[in-house]
């Protein structure tokens, strides 16, 4: 009998008999004024007792097949996993508004009238459902996520439908509370689920917005049905642009270390880094779920334009002192290459699991700028017969997009610059492949740049479009 169900349509006589037997065995479920408390359908023990009595009085009962049981278990597991940790679980049985049963408000009787014989039987609630205006119904956990197409016109129309057996059907009552309140004596009704108007929460925080929550319950004299929760998210698409000023400034500052005159550095052109971000809530057409879609894309290619010229090394004291007389100002650096930066991050945030689903996660910071030493010392110094110098350094960058919250981690650095010098002067004693440090290797900037979250000090704010 453990998984037995009564076969529809149910027998009125068997139901009456089962009720009498059941409540006789459970006087604690009968109030002093004679009202019988409804059986909690989730209380398996009580439900089985009632079904046993129902069968004894000739009611038809069926046992589900093993395949049906397995499907039921799988479905239950799926529902359990899909439930957010803080999911609101409405009471499984709500007090019937029509019969003043225990647990509900005791209404004072101000008048009484004889009830017609044909309505003497209680209304038995057997099922209920809620659907959005696109036809999506609440899931097994009773939650339906909706994204109204617009804020006006009352939001998304939620249709509430119930089915009952016996009685007058007039004791079916739909109650909606939460963001709105509604109480209707009818087997079906509808209400509008609207969402809050979003405002920027930190950087692109639309996915963190709280939904407007509605709870809908159907009650009757007897029986029970699932209750529902409708979570409404705003339909707006929020767009913003980031300039990544900090990265740009870090790279610009890095080039201040280049051993060339300030005037020459001013010829470098650093371009803006434009990153576009957009977030929007969308309904999942194939399920009662909804997600916040986030798309981040953009960059700069190239990020820096450098003139293809050679510059005199500066300041001159970077050069080895003992050779300075020979080198004079005959060492130059040439600079070439380019830096590019791009981000492509597309993901969906599912509020029921609080997890991001990543469709594309890419960030590239490609720096191929090289500083190379060159020499004209033979031309400029009388004593130098020949001079060879070798040395180069690279401006390197690395970026990766973070999984989880949309973010980019970037690092830029200069490699060290060492001059390897061979110098041959007129009287034959020369420097032979001697290494002199010019610049030390250093990391210029390492930073995780989250697209979402609170604005941190020193970070630029997004510019809303």
């Amino acid at each position: 009998m453990s998984d037995a169900r009564a076969t529809h349509p149910m027998s009125g006589a068997a139901t009456d008999g089962a009720n009498n037997d059941f409540y006789a065995a459970h006087p604690e479920m009968v109030t002093p004024d004679g009202h019988r408390k409804p059986i909690d359908p989730h209380n398996k023990k009580l439900r089985d007792q009632w079904l046993l009595a129902y069968a004894k009085h000739g009611g038809k009962v069926r046992n589900p097949t093993p395949a049906m049981k397995a499907a039921h278990v799988r479905q239950a597991g799926k529902e359990a996993k899909a439930m957010p940790p803080n999911a609101v679980a409405p009471p499984s049985v709500m007090p019937c508004s029509g019969n003043g049963s225990a647990g509900g408000t005791h209404l004072k009787t101000v008048a009484s009238a004889p009830r017609q014989e044909k309505f003497a039987e209680d209304c038995l609630l057997v099922d209920a459902a809620c659907a959005c205006e696109h036809g999506r119904v609440a899931g097994e956990n009773g939650v339906l996520y909706v994204v109204p197409e617009q804020h006006a016109f009352g939001g998304d129309e939620i249709k509430c439908i119930s089915s009952s057996m016996g009685g007058c059907h007039h004791h079916i009552r739909w109650t909606v509370d939460g963001a709105d309140t509604l109480s209707v004596h009818a087997p079906k009704t509808s209400f509008g689920a609207s969402a809050v108007m979003p405002s920027m929460i930190g950087f692109m925080g639309l996915h963190k917005i709280d939904p407007r929550v509605y709870r809908a319950n159907a009650t009757a004299c007897r029986g029970g049905a699932p209750s529902f929760e409708i979570r409404a998210y705003p339909p707006e698409k929020l767009e913003a642009q980031f300039n990544f000023k900090k990265l740009r400034e870090a790279i610009k500052k890095g080039f201040e270390l280049a051993p060339i005159d300030e005037e020459e550095k001013n010829k470098f052109e650093f371009l803006e880094i434009q990153i576009s971000c957009a977030e929007q809530w969308k309904e999942d057409k194939k399920s009662p779920r909804a997600y916040c879609e986030c798309e981040i894309a953009g960059g700069a290619l190239p990020l820096i334009k450098t003139p293809e010229l050679s510059f005199q090394i500066y300041p001159p004291n970077l050069l080895p002192e003992k050779l300075r007389d020979y080198i004079k100002f005959g060492v130059f650096v040439s600079i070439g290459g380019e830096i590019s930066f791009s981000v492509a991050w597309i993901g969906k945030y599912w509020p029921d699991t609080s997890k991001w689903q990543h469709d594309k996660v890419e960030a590239k910071l490609e720096a191929e700028v090289e500083l190379e030493l060159a020499v004209k010392a033979s031309l400029l110094s009388k004593d130098v017969l020949d001079f060879e110098i070798a040395g180069k350094t690279s401006f390197t960058g690395e970026a990766k997009a973070a999984y989880g919250e949309p973010a980019v981690e970037a690092e830029v650095k200069w490699g060290g610059l060492e001059a390897v010098i061979t110098i041959h002067i007129a009287w034959r004693i020369f420097e032979h492949q001697t290494t002199y440090p010019i610049l030390k290797e250093r990391t210029l900037w390492k930073h995780e740049y989250p697209f979402h979250g609170e604005k941190k000090e020193g970070e630029e704010s997004p510019k809303e479009e």
Binding site: E372, D386, E388, A390
Partner: protein, 251 residues
Amino acid sequence: MPAEGHLLFIVNVNTRGLLVHILVNDITVYTNNGRQASFGGKINPFILPAGNIVTIALGLPPSAPDPPRFRMNIQRAFQGADPGEEGILSRFTWSGQSLAPAPAEVFRGAFDAPEIWWRPRWISLPPVLASNAELERFVLDFVHSLQTGDIERLTTLHMPSFLELQDSLGFDAEQLASNFRERLRALMADPTFTVLPVDLRRLRYTPEAGGRMVRISLESGDPPIMTQRAEGFVPFAFTVSRVDGQLRIIR
């Protein structure tokens, strides 16, 4: 000599990842075994008034860490001033065409220098015509002089090269010799100074300038004699000619 800076002929090289051998009038002016380098060297002592020939041989080693490149020009300038494009007499840029691992000639260019007033001494010298044994004795003589601190002997061996520099670049040969002695004294006074052993079997003798010179090097092209002190290595590389019947350093 004009009042402005001394007239110079300079070979400028920018190379990376290639085996390089550049000769002017059949005299080695630059070699490189693959390292990245920017080089500028005066070639006045090797220049003739007309018909100067520059040849470039390049080779591509099997594994080069960076994309290889090579460019060279020969520049005519006055000391202290860069004439830029106007001073270029000959130029070559390797465009990436296929190269064999061993250096092979990829460029041969010619240029004149009619305005030079000096006459290189080496052009009048007879062929060296030296046996390997004689060249080995020369190397050992040089090493022995370094080990024993025979500065005068070393100066004498170098004197023809100082005279070439005097003629073509305006130095005073005696002053160069004096500076040379002073530097050798300082070098030898260093308590850490040592002359590294020379493996005669690894020496290579390459005739140059139509046989008027012999370039002495290791098989790798590196200098044949290496000395060392705490600050680092001090190599001695030379090309010899037969001057008055004796082997002497011409450059």
